[in-house]
């Protein structure tokens, strides 16, 4: 089990060295946390090249901001926030291409309020028959199909673990809008996954 006190001590020492401008400390920061930051960038952006650029930008931001980092949170938490913000800026600056409308992926209802296509449970066999890697790939591809504004909320809330308020601040939308988009993103994802996992009608 990692020793928390030793970890904190470790980080405090690294921070001291970073503030003193120690080149080896900077290299350590890149090597120690780089893969994790790359993983986050890849989740948020959808292409590997962009993800690498974002990690580079994020590290340069971090280097500039080192003197403002008070050490109140873990270094990994601080870097996580920086790379998420860098990715968000990149997403904002991209020209929006025409996307599948979220409406097409939301459940439809009859005039009496019943589900137009009543949901049925997903079979365990569908999951058992799929290799783990195939399952992950299927879900990732479905997430990638979500319209961007919804996909990003799902990623920030359900995967990156930011709460409603923080997500709203990062995206400059109200907490209420965050909740609505999250719910719609989840519903849309459910619709896409339902195609794979729905119980086959005998």
């Amino acid at each position: 089990m990692p020793d928390r006190a030793a970890d904190r001590d470790d980080e405090a020492k690294l921070l001291e060295r970073l503030r003193a401008g120690d080149d080896a400390a900077y290299e350590e920061l890149v090597r120690r946390y780089g893969a994790r930051m790359l993983a986050v960038a890849q989740r948020m952006l959808r292409n590997r090249e962009d993800a690498r650029e974002i990690v580079q930008e994020a590290y340069l931001s971090a280097f500039r901001a080192i003197h403002r980092f008070a050490g109140g949170s873990r270094i990994s938490t601080w870097l996580h926030r920086i790379v998420v913000n860098a990715a968000l800026m990149r997403l904002r600056s991209r020209r929006r291409k025409p996307e599948e409308s979220i409406e097409d992926l939301l459940p439809a209802f009859l005039p009496d309020g019943h589900q137009a296509t009543p949901a049925t449970p997903w079979t365990e066999t569908a999951f058992e028959q799929m290799e783990r890697a195939e399952l992950r790939q299927t879900v990732r591809e479905a997430i990638a199909r979500l319209p961007e504004g919804y996909r990003i909320v799902l990623v920030l809330r359900d995967i990156e673990g930011f709460d409603t308020e923080e997500t709203g601040r990062m995206l400059e939308i109200t907490p209420s809008a965050v909740k609505t988009r999250l719910h719609r993103a989840r519903q849309a994802l459910r619709t896409l996954l339902d195609l794979h996992f729905r119980e086959a009608v005998a």
């Binding site: 780089g34 949901a119 049925t120 783990r132 992950r136 359900d158 994802l189 459910r190 339902d194």
Partner: protein, 80 residues
Amino acid sequence: MTCRELIEFLIDYDSGELDGDVRAEFERHLGTCPPCLAYLDTYRRTVQLGREALADGDGAALPEMPEELVRAILAARAQR
């Protein structure tokens, strides 16, 4: 409560934000409507699958941090 209404506010039910009477209404509906119960189950499963598909660890290795990227970052720092 119609299925449409239930599904529209499902996120609040699922996150435990509904209180007393409203919550009871949801549960009543879910108790008598198999398609809505199936919707809730598959909705929850969807959230779980999304987390597992994108999470690090547990079988999903972290990506390789390319050496060129490490060097590029350190070089960019040195240039300023």
